[in-house]
């Protein structure tokens, strides 16, 4: 059914796209998850977006333009780095890092914004809106909007504006208007509510660039497809470097776009174990976390059915994570499906464990990771230690840690 790892030339050339795994279905469902749970006003624009997306994906010229941008503007392919010192010290599996932190703007987010902005241009939209948590997606959106000369409005929760000042300034430098959202819990979910309200109001000329594999169909699919370049490259790089596929993949999961980008091309590779790592915040037992797959249950939010953090009345709960990019009560619907189907395993890592991994990678390999990615690193550390040195673990280093200097310093009792 699937493409298996072997050393034949043909296999090395494969993209890893699984022929048996066809998700979502025509209506945007991943089993019971996903779908289009939006107000009627948005149904037509979503249909329009799906049509434009399908047309573009079948258009070699669009693909060529996208590939050229990913190469010349983003800097792809991103390197695969063997963290030798860390692996040696640990004495377990060999750890490889997919260096999405080296992309233009410092994270994987730009893979998706480049794609969606090209789509917006094709559709003749002149105004771009986006939601952002940590600010990475906002910066990546403001960046592509600046380059294409499009008006850009970024919605960001007031709490996140305060903890990610540097990214707010970057967005403003790039010409975006940053709107501080003061409703609800004043974080990422509220920024997304406000972006949806803007879209419903300005639907004629506005393109909404959603930053993760969530939202109504077709967003979870199209964001995944734009991010799948991560996994396609990494798969080929692992085969090239080690002659075989990795034994395990590890990525952090907030909404889950960097994770799905890495995982998707490997879904048909049965020998590759897949681990998604959520934010356990102060610890799952405290209730102060952002781990819907680990400790939530299914519900409907932001246009799709997925695992959520919600109370017994169906109200969405406030979340907590030291990492603003993981501080979201939902998760992409395809992750919910991968969890239920057993293809992927989801676990959670606390703030303290992520911080320890942050410091450890910085000191051991000279790479300062984003706090989001540090969750994946912490999990990989534990996982690799249980494995043999001839095995390998591929971790998505989804972003760099420059944006987190103030947060880490504050946690360590320093003021920068």
């Amino acid at each position: 059914m699937a493409i298996h790892a072997d050393n034949s030339h043909a296999s090395r050339m494969e993209t890893g796209r699984d022929t048996a795994y066809q998700m979502p279905d025509a209506n945007g469902h991943f089993g019971p998850y996903g779908g289009m749970f939006v107000a009627e006003t948005l149904m037509y624009p979503l249909e329009e977006l799906l049509k434009a997306y399908e047309t573009c994906m079948a258009d070699p010229q669009f693909q060529a333009e996208l590939d050229a941008d990913l190469r010349d503007y983003v800097g792809r392919p991103s390197p695969l780095y063997h963290a030798e010192r860390w692996s040696r010290e640990l004495g377990g599996a060999q750890i490889y890092l997919k260096r999405e932190d080296l992309n233009h703007t410092g994270a994987h987010k730009v893979n998706n914004t480049i794609g969606q902005a090209l789509l917006a241009k094709r559709m003749g939209k002149t105004r771009i809106i986006a939601e952002t948590g940590a600010g990475q997606h906002g910066v990546a959106t403001a960046t592509v909007a600046a380059r294409l000369g499009l008006e850009c409005i970024v919605y960001m929760g007031e709490v996140d504006v305060a903890r990610q000042e540097a990214n707010v300034y970057r967005m403003r430098l790039l010409g975006a208007e940053v709107v501080s959202v003061k409703s609800g819990s004043r974080t990422l979910k509220d920024a997304m509510n406000e972006a949806m309200r803007d879209w419903v109001t300005n639907v004629d000329d506005t393109f909404y660039i959603i930053g993760t594999v969530a939202g109504p169909h077709p967003y979870p699919m199209l964001v995944r497809d734009f991010q799948a370049v991560i996994g396609r490259e990494a798969r080929a790089q692992m085969l090239e470097r080690t002659g075989r596929l990795p034994d395990a993949l590890v990525a952090c999961v907030g909404g889950g776009s960097n994770a799905l980008g890495l995982f998707h091309p490997f879904i048909g590779d049965e020998g590759v174990a897949i681990y998604g790592v959520e934010a356990a915040g102060d610890g799952l037992e405290t209730g102060r976390h952002a781990a819907p797959l680990s400790a939530g249950r299914p519900g409907v939010l932001h246009g799709n059915r997925t695992y959520l953090m919600e109370d017994d009345d169906g109200q969405i709960m406030e979340t907590h994570s030291i990492s603003a990019g993981l501080d979201y009560p939902g998760v992409g619907p395809e992750h919910s499906w991968l969890k239920d189907s057993g293809r992927a395993t989801y676990d959670a890592v606390t703030d303290d464990e992520a911080l320890a991994a942050f410091h450890h990678l910085t000191r051991t390999e000279g790479i300062i990771p984003a706090l989001e990615s540090s969750h994946a690193l912490a999990y990989a550390h534990t996982l690799a230690a249980t494995m043999r040195p001839d095995q390998s673990v591929l971790v998505n280093l989804s972003g760099r840690g420059d944006k987190d200097m103030h947060t880490v310093a504050h946690h360590d009792g320093l003021v920068l």
Binding site: M36, T41, M43, R197, L308
Partner: protein
Amino acid sequence: MSRIAARFSQLADRGRTALIPFVTAGDPNPDVTVPLMHAMVAAGADLIELGVPFSDPMADGPVIQRATERALAQGVSLSRVLEMVRDFRVQDQETPVVLMGYLNPIEVMGYTAFSEQASAAGVDGALIVDLPPEEGHDLIAMMRDCGLDLVNLIAPTSNPGRIARIGQVASGFVYYVSIKGVTGAAHLDVSTIADKVGQIRERIQLPVGVGFGIRDAETAAQVAKVADAVIVGSAIVGRIESLAETPERIPETIAGFLGDLRAAVDAADGVGHGSTSD
């Protein structure tokens, strides 16, 4: 015949447009809601839309968002809203009540439990903002089994194909959202509304209500000329907000405002004032 169908047919016989006020259940506190509902009926409301508070009201503007936050601060859940309807029904078995809200509280309660409990409480229908017909089959079937109508929204962006598809599943009445935007947004254009309502009538046999952006007697009268029902939400909720510190004054004040709307709608219909339940 359902209470909603009975009410619209009664109104049609008399050549009158329905007046439908919306209030958020439990705003500014749960004790206000039932007396407020009775006061609105006395002032000429033909049907009541009761908002079910949800933490993430994506289709609502700031006025109804704040009402939602006030109600949630009082712990008003979907079950509590059903209790309010049950209390309302003690005195009023005539006026239809439609719940308006988002899907997740219903998902968590369960489609069967919701349909049975809502029906038992005396609810007549529900309008679920984030449930387009494509996703609604299971809930629609369950609600229908319990005698509840699922009221669908139609938007300015709904093309003829979508309107027809909505017509296949809608019951009770359909709600035309008169503007692209969130609740309480400004400026409706009556001539475009008339065009769209005409398109809807060609494809759907149910009464057509129009809401979003009706803020005073004048706009209510304009809309009454083209629609079967005039739905007023944010203009009422905004008045409730200004009285949040003196909740005892809310029923009387809102009744006064609705009375003005009723008179304007009746004048537009060319009929005199009169209660439908007389």
